[in-house]
Amino acid sequence: MNYNWDWSVLFCFVEDPVSSCTQPFFYWIVSGFGWTISVAAAAWVIAFSLGSVIGVLRTVENPYLRGFATVYVTIFRNIPLLVQMFLWFFVFPELLPDEAGKWVKRGMPLPEFWTAVVCLGTYTASRVGEQVRAGIEAITQGQRYAAMAMGLRPVQVYRYILLPVSYRIIIPPLTSDFLGVFKNSSLALTIGVLELTAQTRQIEEYTFQGFEAFTAATLLYIVVTAIVMAVMRVVEGRVVIPGMISLGAK
């Protein structure tokens, strides 16, 4: 391959006119990685809490609440994330009253970051919601009856019976969704969050040494995924219900 590998672009610390080194681009990658983690983590908080609510609402009896949740899932899951990112960034502020729109665009701290977080969070919430719903539906009707028959109120039935069991069942797909948030956070670059992928692109444009940067990014993704999977396996082991062979086998 006619490519001039030069790993020093990532690690050199002296400005050197002969090699491509103008600054240690390694720092860029570290900073990008930091933003990636921040976006993913903050978005996951939204996705998990909002998704749980949506998932629960999809299983309640009230047709209006159920309808609302269904519409939510339908919209957020059927529009590409990239497009949603654009809509949140450019269209959403225009729909607000003037003052509020201005605040969203300029007033609030880190507008790009929070826009990306909200977009990614609400998008992933539709996924999580579907998982939670599936988890709840996998629990037999009898469990719900038993909980109600003891006098638990609907919220208590979810809080103490349905959700704890449901979360255990859906740990594997939730892990996938979490990794999804992590990977999808790269789309935040389209609205100017300088996360990992954005930084590798910057390095590429500055130095034309893209392969080095991409390799570093790829390795980081793989390492993080491996860590997350390992952690989730431990979590799964921790919450396993004694005597049950496998809850998720349904």
């Binding site: 391959m1 339908t74 919209i75 899951r77 059927n78 529009i79 590409p80 994330l81 990239l82 497009v83 949603q84 654009f86 809509l87 450019f90 269209v91 225009e94 579907e130 996938s176 990794l179 990977k183 790269s186 992928t197 392969f211 991409f214 990014a217 790829t218 993704y221 793989i222 993080v224 995924t225 491996a226 999977m229 086998a249 349904k250």
Partner: protein, 220 residues
Amino acid sequence: MFENFDFEIIVTSIPFLIEGMGLTLLLTVLAIVGGLALGTVLALCRLAPYRWLSLFAGSYVNFFRSMPLILVIFWFYFLVPFIVGRPVGGFYSVLVAFIMFEAAYYCEIMRAGIQSVRQGQVHAGQALGLTYRQNMRYIVLPQAFRAMIPILLTQAIILFQDTSLVYVVGLRDFLVAADIVANRDNRLMEMFLTVALVYFVMCLAGQLGIRKIQKKFATG
């Protein structure tokens, strides 16, 4: 900003967009078919009694699950020509990347599907004298597929939306085509709203269609 919404740009770019949609659909269908086939084979490997085979399938799946699709496409596109010694062309390179990537996900889905078929069904097929392959073919896989339809659909929708990543290799699917028009003619708002609407309608139609098929299976 909506007062001078430029409908004309949408109308004039329709042929260009339709061409893009053609590629989107073609890639989606081929990647689903190929990914499902490869994924099913992988799932069978994962469940096979040979340790090395299930280990291989397991590592394959974990590897691809840990990579963002965009990086997979990227590496395929740039490294494959280097390995085979000549350009392979964007289309074949992304097609292979998509199939191999999706196969990892379909493998997990199929594995869950196969495992959801009760042991009793497997035993019943065996007790009738069906061989391993016949049992898979006539008893297990048909039930697994049916159980998996909703998840397969979700995955298909994701894939349908993900085809836009072909921009990496310079192919033009629907979203990329719209993006090109938007960039070339500076009409972002118009194009992105159109894209949102088109994807929404198509995914919804797909969803409703599948639900119908599912109902038919349920009564059948």
